[in-house]
């Protein structure tokens, strides 16, 4: 980690500190204060955007641990989110368990399903694994659509989240729940990647054979990566279920999975900042497109057949993913670091 000019580490605790200088502390606290007072100055429309961003962020953090840190490409993340969402829905609706049980249960079940579909990762990697996760996505959606317990095509309703007797009904109360968990997840992920397990993941990503020779148990760590990645997905799914109130397998399509991969690539793979930037970028763009641009275009260009502009957002996202991979494969996080370095060294950036 680069430090501001003139800052030096004199002991290990300073070296290990996540937030190092007073300025960083101030900025963090100001940011958190702004974040948690957001319901007071954001209207419901933008609060719903932030809520979706928070949910997506939790899932993207999981995917980033799996893909960015452990190098196991998964293109079925929406499927694992669906597992979490439906687990939570079944636990709270059909079995009438409390929200917290649904949340934890969703994470655990999702993680276990992730382990099942991650099993081939012991023998194969790269494209083979990508195909396996695509297959997982389709199989999961098929099961959801046809299993009686999940409500099938008709969908399932989910009660509001409630903790200690308090029910999260309004957008702003949901905001605190979702963003609270998202902040905890960001913190956990940041610290997790510095632990023994996190370093083992990076070793597996860089060269799994070399890691195995160095004594990293591949079977254990690859499956652990799938468990953790899908655990986050399950938590996100559970929150999503309780946020929207009703579930349908359409919400967890294959294109959504592609979008998740796109988010972490745009943000920057294998960085802690990456998922945040990528998720905010994609979700805000998506909302702007579907909320503002598409209706405008549909109204302006009436000579085209109806519905033509709905193809616009996939086009744009596909283009953004391709352009980022070609022009800035290290993602927005790298750009941000470049900006920070330039800011610190200005005007003597030699």
């Amino acid at each position: 980690m680069t430090l501001p000019c003139g800052t030096r580490n004199y002991n290990y605790s300073e070296d290990m500190a996540t937030v190092r200088t007073g300025t960083q502390w101030t900025m963090l606290i100001v940011f958190l204060a702004l974040l948690f007072t957001a319901p007071f100055f954001l209207n419901n429309y933008w609060l719903s955007v932030t809520n979706i961003i928070g949910i997506t962020l939790i899932a993207a953090i999981g995917l980033n641990i799996l893909v960015g840190y452990c190098g196991q490409l998964s293109i079925g993340h929406a499927g694992f989110i669906a597992v979490g969402a439906y687990t939570s829905a079944i636990l709270t609706n059909r079995l009438e368990m409390p929200f917290l049980a649904g949340l934890i249960g969703a994470g655990v079940i999702s993680g276990l399903v992730g382990i099942i579909f991650g099993l081939p990762s012991i023998r194969v990697k790269g494209f083979y694994l990508a195909i396996t996760t695509i297959a997982a996505q389709f199989i999961i959606i098929w099961v959801i659509n046809h299993w009686g317990l999940t409500g099938g095509f008709a969908g399932i309703t989910v009660p509001y989240a409630s903790l200690f007797g308090f029910e999260f009904r309004s957008q702003s109360s949901q905001f605190y729940l979702i963003i609270g968990i998202a902040v905890i997840c960001v913190f956990l992920a940041k610290n997790f990647t510095r632990t023994k397990v996190g370093r083992a993941f990076v070793a597996v990503r860089d060269n799994d054979l070399a890691a195995e020779v160095m004594g990293v148990n591949l079977l254990f760590y690859k499956l652990l990566a799938f468990f953790i990645g899908c655990f986050f997905a399950g938590i996100a799914g559970s929150l999503y279920a309780h946020y929207t109130g009703s579930l349908n397998a359409e919400q967890f399509s294959f294109t959504e999975s592609i979008l998740y991969v796109g988010m972490i690539i745009i943000g920057g793979l294998g960085t802690n900042l990456g998922p945040i930037l990528g998720v905010v970028f994609i979700r805000v763009l998506q909302r702007l497109l579907s909320g503002e641009l598409v209706p405008f275009l549909e109204k302006t260009f009436t000579m085209f057949p109806a519905g033509f502009a709905s193809g616009l957002s996939p086009m744009l996202f596909g283009l953004v993913i391709v352009l980022f991979l070609i022009l800035e494969p290290r993602g927005l996080a790298h750009r941000w670091n470049l900006f920070k370095a330039a800011y610190r060294l200005w005007p003597f950036s030699y």
């Binding site: 893909v67 190098g71 490409l73 293109i75 579909f117 099993l119 081939p120 023998r123 194969v124 790269g126 494209f127 083979y128 990508a130 195909i131 396996t132 695509i134 297959a135 997982a136 389709f138 199989i139 098929w142 659509n145 046809h146 299993w147 060269n207 054979l209 070399a210 020779v213 294959f254 294109t255 592609i258 979008l259 991969v261 796109g262 690539i265 793979l269 085209f304 057949p305 109806a306 519905g307 033509f308 502009a309 709905s310 193809g311 616009l312 957002s313 996939p314 086009m315 744009l316 996202f317 596909g318 283009l319 953004v320 993913i321 391709v322 991979l325 070609i326 494969p329």
Partner: protein
């Protein structure tokens, strides 16, 4: 018995189409080790293009077909030149993700140009529809046509790879990229040719399968299902794809026909994905794929 024969023939013909599309994948994988996950949208797009030329513009079939081929060649060239050329020698993750991005873009483009999600060929179908009797079974003639055309394309491709200069260069590139470059064969041109070929066979596959079932978004899934063909046959084996295609088609149709009463509906569409998982666990490099031995 009649039922079984019917399932067999439909399965064979659909499987042949899968094999054709899978062949396009193998082509690209062998020559440039790029996993083309944009196959589904390419199939969808070229089927729509065929529909636009054949039905909307009302061109005669052979003109429309020729235009589709030209379109596919251009599409393949553009994709390779614009998106994949700058990413040569990047990690496999970027290469997979970039084809995902391309696929997403093409799907959006299809919705942008043809917002109607489905289209049928109506009266103006490509193949004659009179039924024929094969033993006790009654099948639409289309299926037999599809099988015939697929076999023809297989043979043409085989001859191309055996005797044409470019075909030989492509096989050589698949064998050893560095050596080929040292011999003065333009590797980049081999890459773009393989993309053109892949798009052309995907387009032919799209025309064939949409002539039977009409055009819908399910064609993207057809492209995805053809991955089970390449997984079963081995990623770098042409012969494997040709053999695995009919196997997948047969399993899909027989399974769909006989298992649906016992399992949930829609089992037919999910069988290829189950096959992927099973192959991955038992024999990850497929029936004829080359097992890679890695060095550190």
């Amino acid at each position: 018995m009649a039922e079984l024969l019917q399932y067999t023939i439909t399965g064979l013909s659909v499987g042949m189409v899968y094999a054709l599309i899978g062949l396009g994948f193998v082509l690209i994988w062998k020559s440039s080790s790029v996993a083309n996950l944009a196959l589904g949208p390419i199939v969808l797009m070229s089927s729509w293009f065929n529909y636009a030329m054949f039905i909307e513009k009302g061109l005669p079939l052979y003109v429309a077909f020729l235009l589709v081929l030209i379109f596919a060649v251009v599409l393949g060239w553009v994709i390779e030149r614009v998106a994949l050329r700058p990413l040569i020698a990047q990690p496999i993750l970027s290469l997979i993700a970039v084809t995902l991005g391309i696929g997403y873009f093409l799907e959006g483009l299809v919705t942008f140009i043809w917002p109607a999600s489905t289209a049928g060929f109506g009266d103006k179908h490509i193949f004659p529809r009179e039924v024929i009797h094969i033993g006790p079974a009654i099948v639409s003639q289309e299926y037999v046509w599809v099988i015939g055309i697929c076999l023809l394309v297989f043979f043409l491709l085989t001859f191309f790879f055996r005797y044409h200069r470019m075909g030989i260069a492509m096989r050589a590139t698949a064998d050893d990229q560095m050596a080929v470059q040292a011999c003065g064969i333009p590797v980049t041109r081999v890459f773009s040719t393989s993309w053109m070929f892949a798009c052309v066979v995907a387009a032919i596959g799209g025309i064939l399968i949409s002539s039977i079932g009409g055009i819908s978004h399910g064609l993207v899934d057809t492209g995805l299902k053809s991955f089970s063909v390449v997984i079963l046959g081995g990623l770098d084996s042409f012969g494997g794809a040709m053999i695995a295609g009919p196997i997948i088609g047969l399993l899909e149709n027989l399974g769909g026909g006989y298992l649906t009463p016992y399992l949930w509906g829609g089992v037919k569409d999910i069988i290829p994905f189950f096959i992927i998982i099973i192959v991955m666990v038992i024999k990850p490099y497929g029936l004829f794929g080359e097992e890679r031995i890695e060095r550190i």
